[in-house]
Every structure is written in C-alpha cells, then in structure tokens.
C-alpha cells in the first residue's frame, strides 16, 4: 500500500474545523454568559464585554453562537450517522446480493429521491412535530437515498473481483466478506461523501430552523438565530454576520477536509 501524503487542503481544513470544534466543546461547559440569560443591554454593538454584541433580548450573541453551533453540529453529525449508516447497510446489501432485494430496495430508494429533500423533511416534521430530535430523524431519512445509491455502486464494483471470490472460496461468511474485505475498500468513496453530507446537513438544519420548523426555543440553533437576525439586519448587522460567519467557517473547514481527502485518494490511485 502506498503511503498517503497529507496535503495543504487537509491540513488547513483540519486546523479550521479543529479550532471550531474545540470552541464548541468549550461551549458545552463554559460560555461567557448563560446563553438564554436576558438583560436590559439590548442590541448592543460588539464590544470587549460582548464580542459579537447582544440580541433583542439582551442575550450575549457570542455565548449563543457557541451553544447554537454545538446544537447544529450535533444535529449534523447524528443526521449523517443515520443517513450514512442506513445508506451503507442498504448499499452493501443491494450491491453485494443483487437480485430481488436490490430491485425492491433501490426502487424504494428512487421513490424517496423523487421528493425534493427539504420538502420531504418538511413532511416528516409535520408528522413528528418540531424539536431537536425530530429534526435529526427527518434529516437522517432525507440523507439515506444518496448514500445508499453511492455505496451500492462501491460494493457492486467489488463483488466479482478476485480477492472477494477467493474469500468466498475459503468459506468466509457473507458478513465477514462485507465487513472485513469490502467495507475498508469503500472508504475512499465514503469519507469525502461524509464531509459533503455533513455540510449539507448543517445547511439543511439551518434552513429548517430558519423557516421555524426546526429546533425550537429555548434550544439555541444557528438557523433560528439567523431568522431572528434577518429582521434587524440594518440596526444590528453584527447579529446576522457573526452567526452567518460561524456557519460559513464551519462548512468551509469541513469542505477543505473533503477536498483534501479526495486529492489524497487520487494521489494514491
């Protein structure tokens, strides 16, 4: 196996994401102010006391963003876990076994793909009701089809290669073949896809909360803050800019990692 070389994208992405994730983790335990604590210092411009200023209830935006991006990050991560997890299982089963299972599952998959993703999420939310965990379920379901399709291709491509055939001749069980022999060889497809999916999940959560159907107060979320900030863009531009800036940075960092991974894989090939 050739040695994989790190590249600039990967390093930069890891640094940016690392800093933000660290910041978010700190936010779980410590924020300069309690994120929902209201005060009479309303709509203050950024200052030493309030780095990102305050919102219309006098809450510290910096603390809220720390906590809110944590919520967003958690939702995005769990969403991808559901989407990629179920997607990989479906992809593995259909890609490896083929036949009638493949037909049925993939047609179901097609049906799911036929809905525009945000609309599908809306429908699921309207059944489950809003809230953090329902958003995760809704987005998770929305993300399944693309992963399933992609992983199916990755697994199907290996079905008839020599080392799989040899493994089968040695009497290895299907489960063992799938997990030990095939899965590691699909990672070059899965990993970049995870980063792209993660970014989409961040943005999808933000859009849903922005529309008022996602995370509900007092849970803080980036989308909800953005929709609040939008109404006062002229009198308090720092609100929208700081929230939007952090989302952009998070997405940017993870995108760089994805890009870096892809380049790395190309060099290996």
């Amino acid at each position: 196996m050739m040695k994989k070389k790190l590249n600039g994208y990967l390093i930069a992405g890891c640094i940016i994401t690392g800093i933000i994730v660290l910041w978010i983790i700190i936010g779980r335990f410590y924020t300069p102010y309690p994120p929902t604590k209201m005060s009479s210092a309303k709509l203050q411009a950024p200052s030493a006391a309030h780095l990102f200023g305050t919102d219309k209830f006098g809450r510290d935006i910096f603390s809220r963003v720390m906590q809110g991006s944590g919520t967003t990050l958690l939702i995005a991560a769990l969403t991808i876990l559901i989407g990629a997890g179920v997607g990989t299982v479906v992809g593995a089963v259909t890609g490896y076994f083929g036949g009638i299972v493949d037909e049925v599952l993939m047609r179901l998959n097609d049906a799911l793909t036929a809905f525009p993703s945000i609309l599908l999420a809306l429908v699921i939310i309207s059944i489950l009701g809003p809230g953090k965990y329902n958003v995760i379920i809704a987005l998770g379901i929305v993300f399944i089809p693309s992963y399933a399709r992609m992983m199916r291709t990755a697994f199907a491509a290996q079905r008839d290669v020599n080392y799989i055939i040899s493994a089968r001749l040695m009497g290895a069980s299907n489960l063992r073949i799938l997990l030990i022999h095939m899965l590691p060889n699909t990672l070059h497809v899965l990993l970049p896809a995870l980063t792209i999916g993660f970014n989409n999940a961040v943005l999808a959560e933000a859009s849903m909360s922005f529309l008022g159907i996602g995370v509900t107060p007092p849970d803080v979320s980036m989308g909800y803050m953005l929709s609040e900030a939008q109404g006062m863009f002229r009198s308090a531009p720092w609100y929208a800019l700081s929230v939007g800036g952090v989302i952009a940075l998070l997405v940017f960092g993870v995108s760089l990692i994805g890009e870096g991974l892809q380049i790395m894989n190309k060099e290996v090939d």
Binding site: T36, K37, M38, S40, K56, F57, G58, G129, P130, G131, G212, I213, T216, P217, P218, D219, Q230, G231, M232, R234, S235
Partner: protein, 535 residues
Amino acid sequence: MKKNLLAGILAVSMVAALLAGCGKGTAQNTGTAGTQAAADAAAGTEQASTERAKANEIVIGIAQDLDQSLDPHYAVAAGTKEVMFNVFEGLVKYDSKGDTVPAVASDVQISDDGLVYTFTLRDGVKFHNGDTVDLDDVIYSIQRCKDDPKVNPQTSTGLQCIESLEKDGDNKLVMTLSEPNTELMSLLTLAILPADYDKQDTAPVGTGPYKYVGRTAQESVELEKFADYWGTPGNIDKVTYKINEKVEGLVMGLESGALDLVSHLSSTQVAELNKDNFNIEQGTMNLVQALYLNNEAAPFDNELVRQALCYAVDRQGILDMAFDGYGFPIGSNVFPAFTKYFDESLVGYYEHDVKKAKELLTQAGYPDGFDMTITVPSNYQPHVDTAEVIAEQLKEVGINATLNRVEWESWKADTYAGRNFQSTVIGLTADPLTARSLLERFTTGQRVADEEGNRGNNFINYNNADYDALFEQAVKCYDDAEQVKIYKEMEKNLTEHAASVYIQDMADMVAVRKGLTGLTFYPLYVLDVSTLKWE
C-alpha cells in the same frame, strides 16, 4: 483546470440570475413598467408611493390570510374581522369610542320595559351588488345569526332573547324580546346580508363603505370604494391587503415602498423603519394577551400550579424585555381600554414573587418544577417573543418550558378548536364589544359539547361553578350598574383561581407612510380604511 473553468461559469451565471432576480423585484415593487430598470431603490420608494397617492390607492400589509370562508357570520379570526369591518355593517355599527351608532337602521325606539325595539330602516341603503336593502334582508340576517349553529356562539346565544321579528310597513322592524338584554345593541352590529344570496363564502356582499373585489390565497385581498354608500364615503379608491406571514417581510415592504400601512408592529420593528418616510401611531390592540393554560391538562389542572405560574411570571419584565416597555399590564380577561368593565385592582393581584411561586409548587407536589410546552402561532412575533421571555422567567422557579411554534392554521384547528395544548400565548379580542363576549367563554356551557358535539369557546377548559353562577346572574340582571358589578366579580374569580396567566394589552404600533392621514383607532381589533386619505 477544466473543473475550475466550469465552476467559474456556474458562479457567473448564478450571480447573473441573482441580479436578474433583484431587477425583477424592483420592477414589481415600484409597479413601473419602463426603461428605468436601473433606478435606485430610494427613487423607487418615492415613485411607488407617489404613484399610488396619485391613483388614490393604498396597500396595507397584514400578517395572516383571511379565513377560508369570508361569510361574516361565521368569521373566527380577528384578522379577518379587521379587514371585513370595512365591508359589512349591521343595523348599528361601532364608532371610534366603541359606542353603537345607527347604520343600516336610521333610528331605533326602545320601549320603557326594554322589550320592544322598533328600528327604522334607512332609506336607500344598497348592497354592493346593487340591490336595495329591505326588511326581508334584515330579518334573514338576524334570524340566521340566531339559528345557524355555525355562527359564533357568543352571538347566537345572545340573540336567543329575540322572540319575534315583525315588519311594520315597508321600513319599520319591530323586535320583541322575551327578556330585556342590555347587550343587544352590540350584538346587532351583526352584518346585514342579502337574503337571496348564497356566495358569501367566496364573494361576500355587504353594505359597508368598501366592497370586496377579490383575493388570492396567501397573497392578497382587494377592496374597492363603494360608490353608492349611504354615509360618508371612503376617500381611497382602492385598498389592497398584502399578506406576508413574516413581519420582517412587512417591514421590508414598507421600506421598499411596496406597502403604505402596517398595523401591529413591535417596537423593534418600528426601530428598523426610516422615520423620514413614516409616521408611527400608537394605540392599543384591545386584546387580552395571556399565557392561556389548559385547565384540563396536567399539571395545570391544579390551581396551585396555575397560581405559582402567575407569581413566577414578571409582567413588567415581559413588557421591558420584549416590548421596550410599551403595553398595559392586566390582571384578568378584560383589557384596560374597555374602562367600564376593567378592574384595575386585579392588575397587581399576583406580584412577581419567585419565592412564593416555589412554595406553591412545592405545595402542589412539584418542588423541582416540571417540563411544559408553550404553543405559539409562529406568524405572530409578539406572542413568540412573549413566550420566549416567559420561558426564561420560568426557569427561575425550576420550570422548563419549551416553545412549540405552529402555523396559524394548525393553531386554530389543534390548539383552539381541538384544545390539544398545554399552554399557549395568544391575544383574545372582544367581538361583539361586550363584557359578555370576553367572559362568557370561560363558562361550563362553552366548555362541554352540546348535543351535536359542537364545543364553545372555552378553549382553556376553565371549570368553576361559582363562575357559572355569576354568569347566570349577570345575563339575567337588567340594571346596568349591578351587571357591571357582577361582571367584575367574574373577572376577580378568573384572577383568584388563576384561570390563566394574564399579561397585557399590547401597544399597537402602526406605521403609516407620510402623506397618508386619517388613521382612527377603535377599541376593537379593526382598521377603518374609510377615514384614510392621501394629502
């Protein structure tokens, strides 16, 4: 390299699409078709409004679509009544003080025992479809409100005292009552509709100063000046209501020149506006804003818990935090502008007291608080803001409140009609403007379903035998002063048993474009467009 080129092309085309989108928006806002596509936004604002002033039109922004059915006798939402106030009139109608003045009737004589009302029909009052109003229309309209089960029960039960309606000649209506009713005149503001017309749902026809032209669902409603109006006609020729469920959208509409008037703005939104272009007028909303508690849903079936909540919520804190100090605190289900029935002593009944709230919670068996949900209609930002402040205040006593933002339609169906909620922040209006309409809704009669399974307006399931008894007394009492006293007792009952956490009557900030004058405030949730005019 090729990939980068492709990305570049994509980016350029996206920017182009974006610009095209903006260009289209400006053209729409200004309403000018022409070559001046590049005219800047400021000039656009100026142009749009002056053009409308010239054409004698206005565009008003509202936060919610009207009810599906526009039939005034069936209307539920305050927002619908606010608009349709201009289209319909009753035998009498409200003036800006909240008194009833003659409208379709020109005169009324009341017998000394209060049992016989003789209305004289005004000469030549016309419906918007051109027909002249006759006694049959009047009798039909009153009869329908009395008998039709779909009519707001507050109106129909109030009208049950009417024993007979008889014609006396061509233009006199004799109404005989089984018992005197001091609130009858308020009820007779009910819309007079043509008897032989069955399209009120979709194409309403009334006698008001403005006639209904049409609507586009979720988008706009159009009214037009009624040329044959019997009274002082309106000044503006054409009124368009634009619907935008996001209040931020309404504020932007004002700034961009697309809208001329928006009511029910918050202080934050007003702060966004450029004061050079707008006058800000301040009235009261005339509604009872409260954290309404479902008295049948645990833990609010426990009076101690409800009282604890009353102590835990800091009304002045809400006003300061979410309304920049504007608003008028209340202590029961009557708003301050309704001075006759408003009991000021109840405002301070529950002073903000965290310790006492905790004691009560402990007594009720919730020493560590509990989780609760506050349902709020997402399109009414003031209610959402209020709920958010309340949630924060409740933390102090250990109650963990989560907001459930729902769409207006779902609020009406599930929360109000379905009573499927724990607590909700909303404002209740008085329609008709009587103490009865504000207070009857908490009686048992309005709580339980009738034989046909219809439930009344007691959506909080308030259940109190004393309250029911007081109400029985009130409706049977024909001495005005005595009746006022009983209604005040009822208010006190609501406060003492903490039926809900009463908060305030909100300040009503209206942004009116400079040059547009004549805005009149009513102690009702209405916007009278007939007095507006461009200078």
